[in-house]
């Protein structure tokens, strides 16, 4: 089940999964999700940028902390999510009186 901080809780269930974070500068960073915080800042281990020829700038990065405000998408494996459960939780949260 998911608490009020829905997406924070959701990402916590994905710790240990391989994900690809797409940034608002179009970079795609692959890695294993290590942690997430209330701002949806993302820590990844074993990072690799998708287009290594275009982005040699970050070739020597071991891990990365990605600021939540620059994330466009987090691509996750379809099998890692119970979509029905997530939809249900999102519906419930949007119905909360605020």
């Amino acid at each position: 089940t998911y608490s009020l901080q829905l997406f924070y809780s959701f990402f916590k269930t994905l710790v240990g999964q391989p994900v690809v974070v797409e940034l608002k500068n179009d970079m795609l960073i692959q890695g294993t999700l290590v942690s997430v915080d209330q701002y949806l800042n993302i820590k990844l281990d074993g990072v690799r940028v998708e287009d290594e020829r275009k982005y040699p700038h970050v070739a020597s990065l071991k891990n990365s902390f990605i600021r939540g405000s620059v994330v466009r998408y987090v691509h996750i494996p379809a099998t890692a999510v119970d979509t029905a459960l997530l939809q249900d939780a999102a519906r419930k949260e949007s119905q909360q009186p605020k």
Binding site: N25, A59, K62, F65, I66, V70
Partner: protein, 91 residues
């Protein structure tokens, strides 16, 4: 970011700059203090390393920060690397 304290880090800023340095301090807004900072300026015809000394970086200008694999970093001949600059973050 606690595990990055006093480590050599690489930072990508929201305007596409790449800075390396030693992370001396940070706060919850990801404002940073970097010592021995230097900017790596990439272009299709040149590479420049620009020393910056002690730097305070405002958190909202940070896109990515990570630990450098020093072995990997030392093995790369940076002055020969040619690439377009990283694009700026766009909302």
């Amino acid at each position: 970011m606690d595990d990055l304290r006093n480590k050599k880090v690489l930072l990508v800023t929201t305007d596409g700059r790449v800075v390396v340095g030693i992370l001396k301090g940070f706060d919850a807004q990801t404002n940073l203090i970097l010592s021995k900072a230097s900017e790596r300026a990439f272009s299709t015809d040149s590479f420049r390393e620009i020393p910056q000394g002690l730097h305070v970086v405002r958190g909202d200008t940070i896109a990515i920060i990570g630990e450098i694999d020093e072995e990997k970093d030392d093995a790369i001949d940076w002055p020969s690397v040619r690439a377009d600059p990283i694009p700026a973050i766009r909302i």
